[in-house]
Each structure stands twice: as structure tokens, then as C-alpha cells.
Symmetry: C2
Subunit: 345 residues, 2 copies
């Protein structure tokens, strides 16, 4: 399937040009904080602007890596007049700032590392570092969308006619494309989307995106999936994964684990789409779970839900062990979580 | 323990005079919609006012039954000048209106039936029906608080020093009193409270109430308990129950079941406080789960969380089967969910 056809099948927020678009040294990031109420872009003029946008959740999922990559091109453009050594120092500084925006996003860190090598080579050879970076970024994005398609194809083939499908948070391009492909294959699918408190990715991103591609969707509370399972409404559970360890632990948005337990309890298979590959994380002990500001747990869309004096806890991710995972969907096929090392061979 | 000591141990919303207070024909209901941001009372001048207050969730948990009982006294007062037969007709009308505010609250319906009999007897004997009703209501409330205390004592004895305790929704007087008693016994307890979307009873009622009685509390999202369990932070799980069937199925706020599965998965016991007894519901099939307005699932404290066009589903309760329940805490002791019939012998 060609790139344009794939892009046309995707909902607004996931279309390539809406994730982030680089225009003459400016970056326009699709503002996922305002979606679905507004379809607007957040404009960044420099690396610090992009770093803050990532920290402030302007984009999420695969978006931060794309935005950070373009930010390096931005840094290269702004350092173009400097001697190579100074320009490289600026790029390294930019990279460190960007990596620190999402300490657990190792795929992003690896990509920025690669891009820095490309910029370094260009600078050493007296070439245009910005152009070299942009060429590499666009080619990487081409490959990413090809990989999304391959994963989506495997995912769609797991879905059966009349399946009720549960997801969590915003499972991004592979999942949405899988739904679109399943629909194209004539399968009647119904998707149940937990709202995903506190940040409401399910309510704000997933449910409107699924509705946009013409698939029946129902918004539910994060505490409701087990009850729907007991009613026989759910046949399969799919999520993305921020990270999967080499020994098959799935790190994803908080709540993924609780629903995997409920699915297991009801004999419902759970599949995770693998985004990026990370042999640098061999096991559970190598994972540090990010804790976000507890104030976010005391409010909802900036409206207080309780008193400021109430202590709260907001771990952003959780870890689902491999015995709860039925399959890891990769661009190379569906792997057992106990067999992931083969993916890297 | 005497009634005043018990009342003093309770947080604001659960103190007897703050649930609802009857003053010369007026009813002041503690407004749980505004708590904890405001500690105000909703004033009702007649039966219709009370019925609407109950429908509009001014009070909840054990509150609606108390408010409805006082509303009957109010009806008796307003009908005092009428002939006995007409007064009784007014009371019957009032009772029907009040029962219809919460069709699933069978304990409330039974109580109102009893009160109507008392009023009828008073009218027949030419006595003051309002006074007869108030005497009966106060004596019933005395017995309720004694039963709260007995359940709380059993609950507190299940708690151990340094326990991390999970709850769901607002487990009301028995649970709060159990925590207060455990504290009095020198046990250091930490409570984790899921916010309980969509209506946020956990964030608005439970967490502030626990903080008020001086016990460490942490507010979390509804999707987080399983992760906390995997971290070893939770030793026991306690909830109230809207209804328990004779064969041990616990009907409670949506989410209770999902957390019971997670607790079971982690080897954490789950105890439910039984409020009222209902031999009229023999089994799971006798339960009708109330579905509330789906619009409530698309907003949070009246702020939209997604587009109006997104279909949503809001079952208000779920059903936890007896194999996930470690014990039912009653005023007569802790029963196995498989042995509840003995409670009624």
C-alpha cells in the first residue's frame, strides 16, 4: 500500500503532516491538548520551544520523537553560521535538552543519537547539517509509516468480524490503521475506549479518531472494562507500548496492566503493538516509571476535582508482565513475549 | 461506645446531623455535590423538594433513605389539619413519589413502608403522626449508628498495623468508622482512594473525609490500583455494597469488580461492608444494573472531556461474584459470601 493511501486512511491527528511539520526553521506541532475541540498547531521557533512543547504534552505517543528530531534540524539551521566545532556543541546541548523531556522514551534518545552523528558527519565535511538532518528525518518517517502499515496488517488479521475491541490510552497509528484495514476487509468491529484519566487521551484522541475513520466507538470509564468483559462485549484487547523489555514486559500508559489482568481473568487475549525496539532494556528492573505532577490527579481539564490539600500519586506508566501478553505485534510479525530476542536477530 | 463518641469520630459529611436534619417541618440535607469545596445544606420545604434533591444527587449512600424518611414526617405535618383519611392519602402519595426517586434502593422502600404503617396507626388513634414518625426515625437512626459501629469494629479488627488499604467510591460510615477505630487502636494505616469517575465520589467525598479524621490518604486514578498492588503498597481492599445477593454477589459502584479481580490476582483479600440486608435478591439474575445518562461520561464536573457526538456508556454499578470476595462484614460478624443465608436466620 503506498504512502498516500495509508495517510488518507488515518484520522486527522495521525496524518503525517499533522503530527509535526517543519517549515523553514519553524516547527508546527499538531496540538493534541486542544484536539478534538480545536484542530490547531503549536508553533515552535527554537529547541527550547520544542522541548517545552513536548514537556507540556502538546504532542504525545510517536509525536515527541518526531518533534525532537525536527528540533535538531532547527538547531543546525540556527548554528549554520558558527564554526563546525561550536555548531556541534550546540547540537549536543540541544540533544541533551530534548532527551531530558522524556527520560523513559529510549527510542527517541536512540534516534536523536543517530541524527547527531549525521549532523556531525555533515559538519565535518562542510555540508549543510540542516539539509542532511531533514533528508534523514523524512526517510526515517517513510520507513516508520511502512512499519506502521506492516504492524497494522498483522493487527487487522487478528481482528474478526463482530469483535468488540478494548484499547487503552491512544494506541496511535498502528492500531488506528489496523482498525481501518479491518474495516476495509469487511469486518464489523466495535471499539470500547476508556477515557484514560487523568489526561483523557482516550476521550480526547482515541474515541474521536476512531469515530473519524467510521468505526463504531463507545467511550467508557477506566473502571468499566471488566464489567463489559463479564457481559461478553469484549473479545480482544489491543494497546500500544511505550517500551517492551527484551524479556517481554510491556511498559505502557498507567491502567494497561489493570486491564490486562481483567482480560486474562476473562480469557480475552491481549496484544501490544511494539513501537521501536529496545534491546537496551533487558528486563523489568531496567524500567524507571515516570511520576508526573500529583496536581494533575486533583483536577480534570483544569477544573479541581478535590481539595488542594489531598495528597495524590500519578505514576504515568505501568508494567504488564509477559504471562498476561498474548502477542507482540512488530513490523516483522507477531512474536510471543517470551521470544522477543528473535526480533533483534 | 456511646452515640456521641461515635458521632465525634466521624468526618463532617457523615456526622448524623450533617446527613440530614429536620427542623420544624424543614429538611436541611448536607449537600454532597458541593462538598468538599463548600460545606452547605440544601433546604427542602416539602416532599417534592426532597424527592428532587435525592434525584439530583444532593445526597447519596445512606443519605437518600434518611432524607426520604424525614420527608414523610414533613408530609404528615403539612397534612395535620386534614381528616385522617385524606392525610393518609397524602402520605401514600408522598411515599410513592419518594420510592420512585431510587427504584433500586429496596432498603429505602422497605423503611418507607414501615413508616407509613406507623403514621397510619397514629392517625387512626388520633395522635400526632409527625411526632410518631420522628420518634421512629430517630430510634431507627440510633440503631443504624449502633450497627455502623458493630460493622466498623469487625472491619477495624481486620486491619493490621502498616496496612495499605484500597477502597472504591465512598464506602460510608462503617468504613470511615473502621479506619477511625483502627487508628484509635494504634494501627498506622495508609488509604489509597481511586477518584471514582465519572462522579468523583472518591476524590470529593472519600479522600477529604479520610484526611479529616487524620489518616494518611492518597488520591489515585481508577486505573492505578493494580500497579500499586504490584508495588506491594496495598494489603487489603474494602468497599461498601449497594446490595449483596443471598448467594454472595456484591453489587457496588462500577469499578469495584475490576479492582476485586486485580486484588485476587495479587493475593489481596477483598471485604465488603453490607448495608442493609436483602433476601429479596437471591442471585445475580435478580439484579438490574442502572444505566445513567451517557452525557455524564463525556464530561467531568460539567466540563466537556470529548465531543458531544461520541457515544458513551455508563453502567452505574457492577457485580463482583463471591469467589472474589473474602468476607462480608455485617453487624453480626464477618460472613463468607457463600454463607450469607445464615445472616438472616
Amino acid at each position: 500500500m503506498d504512502a498516500k493511501t495509508i495517510n488518507d486512511m488515518l484520522p486527522f491527528v495521525l496524518k503525517r503532516e499533522n503530527v509535526a511539520r517543519y517549515r523553514e526553521g519553524r516547527l508546527e506541532i499538531g496540538d493534541r491538548r486542544k484536539y478534538p475541540f480545536e484542530k490547531t498547531f503549536h508553533i515552535c521557533e527554537d529547541v527550547e520551544g520544542v522541548a517545552r512543547a513536548v514537556e507540556e504534552m502538546v504532542t504525545q505517543g510517536g509525536g515527541p520523537a518526531v518533534a525532537a528530531a525536527y528540533a535538531l534540524a532547527m538547531a543546525a539551521r540556527q548554528a549554520a553560521a558558527l564554526p563546525a566545532e561550536k555548531a556541534l556543541a550546540r547540537l549536543k546541548e540541544a540533544k541533551t535538552r530534548l532527551v531530558n523531556t522524556r527520560p523513559t522514551n529510549t527510542a527517541m534518545a536512540l534516534w536523536l543519537e543517530e541524527l547527531q552523528d549525521i549532523a556531525e558527519k555533515a559538519l565535518e565535511e562542510g555540508e549543510d547539517a540542516e539539509a542532511a538532518l531533514l533528508a534523514s528525518i523524512e526517510s526515517r518517517r517513510d520507513r516508520d509509516y511502512e512499519a506502521y502499515y506492516r504492524r497494522a496488517r498483522f493487527g487487522a488479521d487478528l481482528m474478526q468480524d463482530r469483535d468488540g475491541i478494548l484499547t487503552m490510552c491512544f494506541a496511535e497509528t498502528s492500531f488506528l490503521l489496523a482498525l481501518a484495514l479491518a474495516k476495509q476487509d469487511g469486518k464489523r468491529i466495535q471499539v470500547f475506549v476508556p477515557e484514560t484519566r487523568p489526561y483523557l487521551q482516550g476521550a480526547r484522541l482515541t474515541a474521536p479518531s476512531i469515530q473519524e475513520i467510521g468505526i463504531p466507538v463507545t467511550l467508557i470509564g477506566d473502571s468499566m472494562p471488566a464489567y463489559l468483559m463479564s457481559q461478553g462485549k469484549i473479545q480482544k484487547y489491543f494497546t500500544a507500548a511505550d517500551l517492551i523489555t527484551l524479556d517481554g514486559h510491556v511498559v505502557n500508559k498507567i491502567g494497561t496492566f489493570q486491564l490486562a489482568i481483567a482480560a486474562h481473568h476473562h480469557g480475552i487475549p491481549y496484544f501490544a503493538f511494539m513501537w521501536g525496539a529496545d534491546p537496551g532494556h533487558p528486563d523489568r528492573d531496567s524500567i524507571r516509571i515516570e511520576e508526573r505532577d500529583q496536581g494533575e490527579m486533583r483536577s480534570c481539564r483544569d477544573v479541581a476535582t478535590t481539595l488542594d490539600s489531598i495528597p495524590a500519586y500519578y505514576p504515568a506508566f505501568d508494567i504488564t508482565p509477559p504471562y498476561l501478553v498474548s502477542g507482540i505485534i512488530t513490523a516483522k510479525g507477531i512474536f510471543s513475549p517470551y521470544d522477543l530476542h528473535r526480533h533483534f536477530e
